[in-house]
Structures are given as structure tokens and as C-alpha cells.
């Protein structure tokens, strides 16, 4: 297909064809990434700017690696969250970066919609590396890439996403992406974290994880922000763990050799037991590698232009 999109902001407005094209491109990128000498001249002379308003090691490094493998120059701007209110506005910062002739701006920001806000202002491509509680499209794409590697075609498969869905951009982006790929998605968690309005995403909702597990091909645990207890959304981590923690015992209820995913970093003993965490370590490492491949694919598709790395 001919790539036309200027930015990667959310999965919600992407077509299935685009998603498949990204996944296909990522496959090629992964092969390149696995080579002993992993450096391409493809994006030589292009510049990629990482603009991160939230702390992130994994995602930022992943984007940097991806851009470097493709031969682009990268700059990282880590903006402390506090300076947003007292300092330069996102609008002004964005204009400055544009004036420095960036080709791609990768944004992580605590406000939902900030990526689209930036994309509406800027000429360069914008990739959303997480905007508030709204979307984290590259995480969803790498999750699905990993699922496909393990399960092949995903259509008709069942995925249960467990945890703090209300505050999770990972859950939202995964729900859109999975459903577009024909996957049945269930959100599970306490009513305070999985409220009824989340049905608007088209998913099934349950507060009883155990009843949702039978037949699940993939179970994804979300990271529980420990401050949720303080704001009254849950009484204790103990009770949360009791009701929604993924344990070996509980996972038997799927009746399948299910895959467990976690966007990381994990709270061992809270949303995921130590033994389950240990058993999925290998997969998590693979997710990290796939993350670089997905981000290579996206940067390439956005600014690779006429070069033909992907035949």
C-alpha cells in the first residue's frame, strides 16, 4: 500500500490495512535489527527529536535506537513535568523544534490529546509515544506484533486486559488495535478502575477476572499505579492482588497454554506473581526487541520516502 499518513497519533483512526502494513514493515526491520552490523544509510541526514514530558527510559531509548539503526540523527529533550506550568508552553517548544528543522518529533506528554495538538501545529511528522491516558499506539503495535509471532493470525482470538483500564493509554490503544484485527477483548478489574463507560470502546467489561479467563489466548496485566490506593480507588494492594493478580494457579483457568503480557515495569506480587513474572521474562525481552522494530517501521514509513528498504 502507499503510505499517506503524516503522523502516528492513535490506533483508533487507523485502517486495518495500515496496521498490517506497519506490522509487515516491522518484520523486515526486525531482520535488520538482528544483523551483526545494524546500521542503514536510509535516513542519513534526517533528524529525529524525542520530546519527553514524562519520565521514560524504555520507550525513549527504543525510539532512539530505532532512529539510529536507520541512520538518522537523534536528539532527546527531557522536560521535567514541573516546567510545563511555569515555563515555555508546548506550543512554543514545538515551534522551536520545528525551526530547528526536525523531521520527526516523538512526543510523550501527560495530557491526553497532546500528540494531536502537536501534530496540528507542526509540519514534521509526529509520533505519539504516550499522551496522558489517551493512547500509546507504538506499545499496542509492538504488543500485537509479539502476539502474532507467538500465535500467528490473531482473528477470533480472545484477549483479557486486567487492571487499571480507566487510567491506561496502553489498554485503550490495545483495545482499538486488537479489535481492528478481529480479536475479542475483555477488560477486567474493579468497578472503580473499569467503569461502565469503558464499554464505549466496544469491549466486554467484567469485574470478575476468573469468569473471564476460560478460553483466553492472551492475558495482559497492566501496571497498577500504586498511588491509586491513596486516591481511594482501591482499598488495598492486598485485596487487588487477591482478586486480580495473575498467578500460576489462576492462569490455569484459561484452559489453554495462554500467553501473558505486561507493558512493564512490573509490580511483582501485585498485578503479577513472582513466578508468573519469571516465566514471562523471555517474552518481555522479546517485546523490547519488537518495540525497536515497530518504531523503526514507523519512522521509516513516515520519512523514508522513496527509499526501498522494504521490497
Amino acid at each position: 500500500m502507499k503510505w499517506q499518513r503524516k503522523d502516528i497519533l492513535a490506533i483508533e483512526d487507523m485502517s486495518v490495512e495500515e496496521i498490517r502494513h506497519i506490522l509487515h514493515t516491522a518484520k523486515v526491520m526486525k531482520e535488520i535489527l538482528m544483523r551483526p552490523i545494524k546500521k542503514l544509510p536510509t535516513l542519513k541526514g534526517k533528524s529525529v527529536v524525542n520530546l519527553f514530558y514524562e519520565a521514560s527510559t524504555r520507550t525513549r531509548t527504543s525510539f532512539e535506537m530505532a532512529a539510529k539503526v536507520l541512520g538518522a540523527d537523534t536528539t532527546s529533550i527531557a522536560v521535567a513535568q514541573s516546567s510545563v506550568s511555569k515555563g515555555e508552553s508546548l506550543y512554543d517548544t514545538a515551534k522551536t523544534i520545528q525551526a530547528m528543522r526536525a523531521d520527526v518529533v516523538i512526543l510523550r506528554h501527560p495530557s491526553s490529546g497532546s500528540a494531536k495538538f502537536l501534530a496540528d501545529i507542526l509540519d514534521p511528522a509526529v509520533i505519539n509515544a504516550g499522551d496522558g491516558q489517551h493512547a500509546h499506539p507504538t506499545q499496542a503495535l509492538l504488543d500485537i506484533f509479539t502476539m502474532q509471532e507467538n500465535l500467528g493470525e490473531l482473528e477470533g482470538k480472545n484477549v483479557v486486559i486486567v487492571g487499571d483500564v480507566l487510567h491506561s493509554r496502553v489498554a485503550r490503544s490495545n483495545a482499538w488495535c486488537l479489535q481492528k484485527m478481529g480479536v475479542n477483548v475483555t477488560f477486567a478489574g474493579p468497578p472503580t478502575l473499569v467503569p461502565a463507560e469503558m464499554e464505549g470502546l466496544g469491549v466486554k467489561i467484567t469485574h470478575d477476572l476468573d469468569s473471564a479467563l476460560p478460553g483466553a489466548d492472551i492475558v495482559m496485566a497492566l501496571r497498577l499505579q500504586l498511588e491509586r490506593q491513596k486516591s481511594g480507588l482501591l482499598p488495598s494492594l492486598r485485596e487487588y492482588s487477591h482478586l486480580y493478580g495473575l498467578t500460576t494457579e489462576r492462569l490455569k483457568k484459561t484452559g489453554k497454554q495462554s500467553i501473558v503480557l505486561h507493558p512493564g515495569p512490573m509490580n511483582r506480587g501485585v498485578e503479577i506473581s513472582d513466578d508468573v513474572a519469571n516465566s514471562v521474562d523471555a517474552l518481555i525481552e522479546r517485546q523490547v526487541t519488537n518495540g525497536v522494530a515497530i518504531r523503526m517501521a514507523l519512522i521509516y514509513l513516515l520519512i523514508g520516502g522513496s527509499s526501498n528498504v522494504v521490497a
Binding site: 490529546g113 497532546s114 496522558g132 493509554r169 463507560e197
Partner: protein
């Protein structure tokens, strides 16, 4: 002297809605008659120069009274000031505006009340009537000197922008305001339920990951205030009602005889939460846009009189403030210049509301409730009037707006139906959409 010929006059205070001829002389409405001959008019002019306006196809109604505007002066003149706000008012068809008290500093004493009055007179466009705060510094604990502020020109009391969280302070305010005869205007919002919310809690907020404000954040305080008004016998006016539950609570309270009135904002009658895009800060408003069901209930409430008035809640902000990610932009819609046209286009034209009801809710009713002059075209009253052309269309562009603010969801849109002539005390202050 003005002779408005063959114009459709809507004056709910006299129950007129019919084609009439209207004469204005010496700043007052001289008379409204079925039709006049030139000879009769010239006799009445007694040699005074006469301007004749052919009103065919247009409406003439009392200058609108807006009981809820934020003029930002003193303290936030980058957003708006009393001069720009009162110019915006007359451009939009409002000849009297009540200025909310949440300025910096808040209008919590007589000196500040008199300052707002004075600035309004200096501006010389719409009548600017100040609302005082309920509590000193709008801190929600000690009542202001209501009697003294009334002497200074206050017309009501409100901590609008903030809810009075203490039920006891609200109860005392309703009691003490009896000394003035003025209503307490309540901004109903439970602070804990509203939390850090950005838009109405629902499917749309869930989808976009924008923190939600449940409908109950408004309705529980509406219920509280109605109970307090009933218990004290105090006068209560509820600002910007936005939920179906609130409408139902008010309907029942009125049936019990509670002394309550309520207003609704045009944007809550026109938009709903599903229409908010993730970067549409022009639709970020408090109380937030509700569901479709809420919108229907509000229209029904305005039709049956449960909701008494329309008010703009004109909330100007700078472009820089609104050009931010949704969470960081301030709440509010600037609406003085577009509100009447929006109501005409989105509610009257499709037959959801009659123009007669709209004018009543925006002129006579507010005048009655707040004891204001204006809102009527009775002979001998001050000629505050609007000539409305239902066919006049205009693109809403920054260059044309006289408010300092541009934060309207109608920016760039073509709207139809505008006030084309506006008089304050018989003096023409707006003609063909230009403020004079």
C-alpha cells in the same frame, strides 16, 4: 426620533408578538401601534429629526439581559475588560449584562462594586451591573457586607466559578441575603466529585482518556441548595444548569413552592459531550457539556419554564491559554457575540424553541427576578432594543469580534440570524454588526 415600521415586535412583558410600528423619542419608547401614517409620525416628532427604518422581515425585541457574564476586570484584562465586554454585549444584542464577581481581586466590597459600575458607565455601551461575591475573597467562609454592597449598586451575590462547599455558609448566605431581597446565585459543583475532571464523565471521556466529571457533581449540590432554600425561605438562583437530574430536582422544588430560578447556557442547549474532539479546547467548559439526554432535558426544561432564563456564561480567555493540550486549557466559552445567533440557528429555526420563549427567558424574566429596569418595550420605558435580522449571515472571524477573546466553538463558521441594530436608552450603539 426613530420610527420602526412594520416590524415584528416581540415583547413578552406586554404579551406582544405581532407586526407593529414602534416610535422612540427622547431615549424612551414612545408607543407601539398597529400601523402609523407618516402624518401621524411627523406630528409626534414635533420637528425633531426622524429616522425611519423599514422593519419588514425583521424582529424588534427588548434589549437582552444577560445575568451571567465574566468581564475579567479588574485583574485579568488580557482576557477581557469592561469596555471590550460591554461592546461585545451590544454587538450580540445584550443591553444589560450582569458581571460575575470572580475577578482578581474578587468583587467582595462596596468599593469594588462601585468600581465596576463606574467602568461600565465610562464604557457607555451595555448597562453593566455588578454581582458581588457571597463570601470575602470568595474563600467560602465569611459573608460579605451585602447591605452595603447593595447600596453601592450590587444586584445579586455569587461565588460563581467556585461552589460554596460549606452547607452552613450557604445556609447563612440564603438567610442573610434576605436583607437585600437579592437571590444567591449558586455555582453548583461538588469539588470532590468533579475532582480533576476535564469533561463530562461518559463514553466519550472514557474513549479519549480525558478525566471525567460525573453529572452528580452538579446535581448533588443542586439538591442541597434547593433543600437549604426551602428550609430558609431564601431566594436562590441556580447558574448554568447542565444535567437532566438537576432539571428534575428544580421542577419538583418549584412545585413545592421553593423560591428558585435557574438559568441554562446556550452551549449546553446546542452541544453534547460526544461532539468534543480531543483538541477542541473551545468546547472545554464548566459545567461540562452533557449527554444527548441532558441536552433534551434542558430544552424541555426551558420550554416548560422549569429553567427560567438563558444566560451566556461568557467566559473569555486568551488565545495562548486555549492553545494548549485539553487538560491544560482553562474552562470557558466566550459567547456574547454569538449566543443569540446560535440559539436562533440551532434551536429556533429547527423548531425546538419559539423565539417568543427565547426572548422572554432572556429579557423579561431576568428583569423580574433581579429587579432590573429594561427587558420591556412598554411606553415610557428606556429604549433598550434590538432589531434582529433572521436572514443576516456572517462568518465568525477573529477580525470582526470586538471581545478580546476568540474562544468560541463557532470560530470560522458561517452563522445566520443576527442583531443588526441595537439601542441603549434610545441611542444607537450597533448598526449593521458594527459597534458605534
Amino acid at each position: 426620533m426613530w420610527w420602526l415600521k412594520d416590524v415584528w415586535v416581540i415583547d413578552p412583558s406586554q404579551k406582544i408578538s405581532a407586526p407593529r410600528d414602534v416610535l422612540v423619542k427622547g431615549g424612551q419608547v414612545l408607543g407601539i401601534s398597529s400601523s402609523l401614517t407618516e402624518k401621524e409620525v411627523l406630528e409626534k416628532a414635533q420637528g425633531e429629526s426622524l429616522e425611519t427604518i423599514n422593519g419588514k422581515g425583521k424582529f424588534l425585541f427588548p434589549g437582552l439581559i444577560d445575568v451571567h457574564t465574566h468581564l475579567r476586570e479588574p485583574g485579568q484584562e488580557d482576557k477581557e475588560d469592561i469596555l471590550s465586554g460591554s461592546r461585545a454585549a451590544v454587538r450580540g444584542g445584550f443591553t444589560t449584562i450582569m458581571a460575575m464577581a470572580n475577578t482578581q481581586p474578587p468583587i467582595d466590597n462596596r468599593a469594588l462594586i462601585e468600581f465596576v459600575c463606574r467602568q461600565g458607565e465610562r464604557a457607555g455601551y451595555a448597562h453593566v451591573l455588578p454581582i458581588g461575591t457571597v463570601t470575602k475573597g470568595m474563600l467560602g467562609s465569611e459573608l460579605v457586607e451585602m447591605a452595603d454592597m447593595k447600596e453601592g449598586g450590587a444586584v445579586a451575590f455569587s461565588d460563581d466559578g467556585k461552589n460554596i462547599q460549606s452547607s452552613e455558609v450557604m445556609r447563612l448566605a440564603l438567610e442573610y441575603a434576605k436583607l437585600t431581597g437579592f437571590p444567591i446565585i449558586s455555582h453548583c459543583e461538588d469539588k470532590d466529585l468533579a475532582g480533576e475532571g476535564l469533561m463530562r464523565r461518559g463514553v466519550a471521556s472514557g474513549r479519549m482518556g480525558l478525566r471525567g466529571i460525573p453529572a452528580s457533581a452538579e446535581s448533588v449540590i443542586v439538591a442541597r441548595d434547593l433543600i437549604l432554600a426551602e428550609e430558609t425561605g431564601g431566594k436562590l438562583h441556580l447558574a448554568h444548569i447542565s444535567t437532566a437530574e438537576s432539571v428534575e430536582l428544580i421542577r419538583k422544588a418549584k412545585a413545592r413552592g421553593v423560591d428558585v430560578t435557574a438559568e441554562v447556557n446556550p452551549h449546553h442547549l446546542i452541544f453534547c459531550d460526544e461532539e468534543i474532539g480531543i483538541t477542541d479546547t473551545a468546547l472545554k467548559v464548566n459545567p461540562p457539556l452533557g449527554s444527548r439526554g441532558d441536552r433534551e432535558a434542558l430544552i424541555e426544561g426551558l420550554r416548560d419554564g422549569t429553567l427560567d432564563m438563558i444566560a451566556t456564561d461568557h467566559a473569555p480567555h486568551t488565545q495562548a491559554e486555549k492553545a494548549r493540550p485539553f487538560a491544560e486549557a482553562p474552562f470557558g466559552i466566550a459567547s456574547l457575540e454569538t449566543a443569540l445567533s446560535a440559539v436562533w440557528q440551532y434551536l429556533v429555526l429547527p423548531g425546538r424553541l419559539s423565539l417568543d420563549r427565547v426572548i422572554e427567558a432572556w429579557s423579561d424574566t431576568p428583569a423580574q427576578r433581579f429587579g432590573l429596569t429594561g427587558g420591556s418595550l412598554k411606553p415610557g420605558t428606556s429604549a433598550d432594543m434590538v432589531l434582529f435580522d433572521p436572514d443576516f449571515s456572517e462568518v465568525i472571524e477573529p477580525a470582526k469580534l470586538v471581545s478580546k477573546a476568540r474562544n468560541t466553538p463557532f470560530l470560522g463558521k458561517t452563522m445566520q440570524g443576527f442583531p443588526v441594530m441595537v439601542w441603549v436608552e434610545g441611542r444607537l450603539v450597533q448598526r449593521d454588526r458594527t459597534v458605534i
